[in-house]
Structure formats: structure tokens, C-alpha cells
């Protein structure tokens, strides 16, 4: 098993593509995206009920080697500062197969 950083990002649905594009530009080739999340945050309640998905969140899970983390987080921070959202980082082990 390989130690990795597990990164979990929640953003408004319309922004998730920017996030995954950002991940790609940092050379991360794997992520998982869950739609239809509702939530509560500094910008109020996301009901996940409307027509266009503006009030839905997407949750993105990805992994990253500890070396790449700092650069990635810098860009992520800039994006989240503009769009709102949340990012959690934790330690995990990747099962190589």
C-alpha cells in the first residue's frame, strides 16, 4: 500500500468541471465525482432541488502524492476563494493493484 493524500472537495455543481480540469492540469489522473449533494456552508443552504443544478453541490474525491500536494492546494485555494466550497485533506493508503 502506498501512502497518499486523500483530498475531498465540495463545490457548487457548475464549478466542478473547473475543479476536475485543475486536477488534470496538476497531473492527477484519477478522481471520483458524486453529484446531487445538498449542504450548508458560509454561503447558506444548498437545497439540491432546483432545475439547473445551481443549488446542488458536487463532491469530488481524489488522491495525490505528498510531493504534489502543496502546489495543488495553492491553486485550489484560489479557486475556492472565488467560488466558495470546501476542501478536506487527510492521510490514506492506496491499494496498489
Amino acid at each position: 500500500m502506498i501512502p497518499v493524500k486523500r483530498i475531498e472537495i465540495v463545490v457548487d455543481a457548475p464549478h466542478s468541471e473547473s475543479i476536475t480540469r485543475l486536477l488534470g492540469s496538476h497531473g492527477l489522473e484519477g478522481w471520483t465525482l458524486l453529484r446531487g449533494a445538498s449542504g450548508m456552508g458560509q454561503r447558506g443552504r444548498q437545497h439540491d432541488d432546483d432545475i439547473t443544478g445551481v443549488s446542488s453541490n458536487h463532491l469530488i474525491v481524489t488522491t495525490c502524492t505528498p510531493e504534489k500536494l502543496a502546489l495543488l492546494l495553492e491553486d485550489l485555494r484560489a479557486m475556492l476563494a472565488r467560488y466558495g466550497g470546501m476542501c478536506l485533506v487527510s492521510d490514506a493508503h492506496w491499494l496498489r493493484h
Binding site: 464549478h15 439540491d48 432541488d49 432546483d50 432545475i51 439547473t52 445551481v54 443549488s55 467560488y83
Partner: protein, 328 residues
């Protein structure tokens, strides 16, 4: 003026189901419409209204008469935001003012559809041009709104995401899913004409009213859930949310009269001008102007202007139009 129009309108199935939805949300019932169904219902409505409009548009021909309401609509949707922005800038930051300006310059497809069903009940004719007008009024307001914000210095660095240029802005505005489907269905309707329409009418036309009831039940739930968020808006914006439709409607009735539109088309142009977007604009604004606070512009249009328009607005505008056209 015929006040019974208003009370009569309140007792139709679509409006009653809207009220049922609001009631369910306020009473905190666990009634809910799954989000994929909400989206499917809106795809259905855009598909139907677009194709139907396209068919009628093609059968009417593309003369200058046909273009008049279209041009009036586009002009309104580009100019209203300018006035709104100037007005709201006194109290709000540029991002929020621009977002609201875009919202109220643009149109609400569901309000439009409710007005069509209102006309149908009263057997008043309307033309396919108005659907084209609707489709073309979504985007200019977005463009104008975002440009106003940019001129005031919002998001100019736009480092993250790069939604900076006018080009990418127009992309957002015209490739928005709702706008794209509506315009696409319109073009397809115009291409396939009556024959094509007949083959899809048992799906796109016959059940339309019934689907609208379910959709408005859902809109009621959605609006009801956001009534609480209106507190954030403050009195000035709440006043705006009711006055803007009235002012826009008054201007539109005048324009419709000057252009010599029929009563049906006049009502639809009025409704387009008086309504505020909660499909195309919020999505585009989130992308292009993420600085704007969505808990301001979304509840205003969804939980105030939309209910006002479908319950009181439409019959009121009709009564005014009836009185004016009759007086003429």
C-alpha cells in the same frame, strides 16, 4: 378592468398545485420531487414549447411583422438590466447588482408557459414568434449583466477558471442547457413543420397541461423552501421584486400597443418582460460572476416574482391589455 380574471386564474389546476407546493414546504411536509424529475420536467417543457413555437413560427413566415416583437424583446432584455443596475448600485455591491439586473432582464420560461396555458383556456391566439422572442431574451441580459459587473472591476483578474473574456461569456450565455435546448427545439420545429409536430404532439402537446401542474407543484416546493432566505434580502429588494415586474410590464404593454401586436402576443411580451429568470441566469451567473451572492437573486426571482406573476400578474396584465385594446 375585469377583476374576475384574477380570481378565476387562482382557481386553475396549475396555480392551485403551485400553492399546494408552497404549503407543503411551509408546513415542512416531507413531500418532495426528486431532483432528476425536476430536471426532466423542465426538459419536457422546453422541448414542447420550443418545438411548438418553431412550427408556428415557420408557418407564419419570417416577415418584418414577425420580427417586431422579437426585436422589442431583445431590446428590453438588454436595456432593463442597465436601469436595474444603476438603481441597485446605490445599495448593493456591483456583483450583486449585476446579478439581479441580469435576472430581471432575462425571462422565466415557466411563467411564459403558464401564460400560454392561460391564453389557451380563454381561446386567445398567440404566435410562434413569441417563443422565438423568449429564446432570444435569455442571453443578452446575461451578457449585459456580467459586462456591467466587469466594468465595475468585479472578477477582472479572473485567474482561477478563466471565465474572463467576452467570448467565453457568450459561450456561457448561449450554450446554457436551457437556452440551447429551447433554441434547438425551435429550429427543429421550424424544420419539420406541421407533419413533424403531429407525430410528437401526443407526447409534446396533449399531456402538457397536466405535466405543468406537477411541475408547478414542484416549483411551489422549491419556492417555499426559499421563502425563509428572503429575510436576507431586506425591504428594498423585496419591494423591487414586486415593483420591477409591474414597471417592466407597463413598459411592455405600451410597446406591444405601439407595435400593434394582438392581445395574445401582447400578453406574452408583457410576461416575458415582467418575469425574472431562475433557469438560465443563475447557472450562467454562478460560472461567470461567482462573486454574486446566490441567496439574494435566486430567492427574489423564485419566491417572490415568480409566484406574483403566475398568480396575480398574468391576469392583471391581461385585464390591462383587454381594457387598453378595447379602448382603442
Amino acid at each position: 378592468m375585469d377583476w374576475s380574471l384574477i380570481s378565476g386564474n387562482l382557481l386553475t389546476p396549475p396555480i392551485l398545485f403551485f400553492c399546494l407546493g408552497v404549503a407543503a414546504a411551509l408546513l415542512r411536509s416531507d413531500l418532495e420531487v426528486p431532483q432528476p424529475i425536476t430536471r426532466a420536467l423542465s426538459l419536457y417543457l422546453l422541448f414542447s414549447i420550443g418545438m411548438h413555437g418553431g412550427v408556428e413560427f415557420a408557418s407564419a413566415g419570417f416577415g418584418f411583422t414577425a420580427l417586431k416583437p422579437l426585436l422589442a424583446g431583445i431590446a428590453a432584455s438588454a436595456l432593463f438590466p442597465l436601469a436595474t443596475f444603476a438603481l441597485l448600485r446605490r445599495k448593493l455591491g456591483p456583483a450583486d447588482a449585476a446579478a439581479i439586473a441580469a435576472t430581471y432582464g432575462s425571462i422565466s420560461a415557466v411563467t411564459f408557459v403558464t401564460a400560454c396555458s392561460f391564453l389557451q383556456d380563454r381561446e386567445i391566439a398567440w404566435s410562434g414568434n413569441m417563443v422565438a422572442a423568449m429564446a432570444l431574451m435569455e442571453s443578452p441580459a446575461i451578457l449585459v449583466g456580467v459586462l456591467l459587473a466587469r466594468r465595475s472591476g468585479v472578477g477582472n483578474k479572473a485567474g482561477a477558471g478563466g471565465h474572463g473574456s467576452i467570448l467565453s461569456l457568450s459561450r456561457e450565455a448561449f450554450l446554457n442547457g436551457a437556452v440551447f435546448l429551447l433554441i434547438g427545439a425551435l429550429v427543429i420545429g421550424a424544420l419539420v413543420g406541421e407533419t413533424g409536430w403531429k407525430s410528437v404532439a401526443p407526447f409534446a402537446h396533449d399531456p402538457f397541461k397536466g405535466v405543468l401542474c406537477l411541475f408547478l407543484l414542484d416549483m411551489g416546493l422549491i419556492a417555499g423552501r426559499r421563502l425563509g432566505a428572503l429575510r436576507e434580502s431586506g425591504g428594498m429588494l423585496l419591494t423591487y421584486a414586486i415593483c420591477a415586474p409591474l414597471v417592466h410590464a407597463a413598459i411592455a404593454v405600451g410597446a406591444a400597443y405601439a407595435l400593434g401586436l394582438g392581445r395574445g402576443d401582447a400578453l406574452l411580451l408583457t410576461v416575458l418582460c415582467a418575469s425574472a429568470s431562475y433557469i438560465a441566469v443563475p447557472a450562467a451567473i454562478r460560472s461567470s460572476l461567482p462573486e454574486a451572492n446566490p441567496s439574494l437573486f435566486l430567492p427574489m426571482s423564485l419566491a417572490m416574482t415568480f409566484p406574483f406573476n403566475i398568480s396575480v400578474g398574468i391576469p392583471l396584465y391581461m385585464a390591462v391589455i383587454d381594457a387598453t385594446w378595447r379602448a382603442a
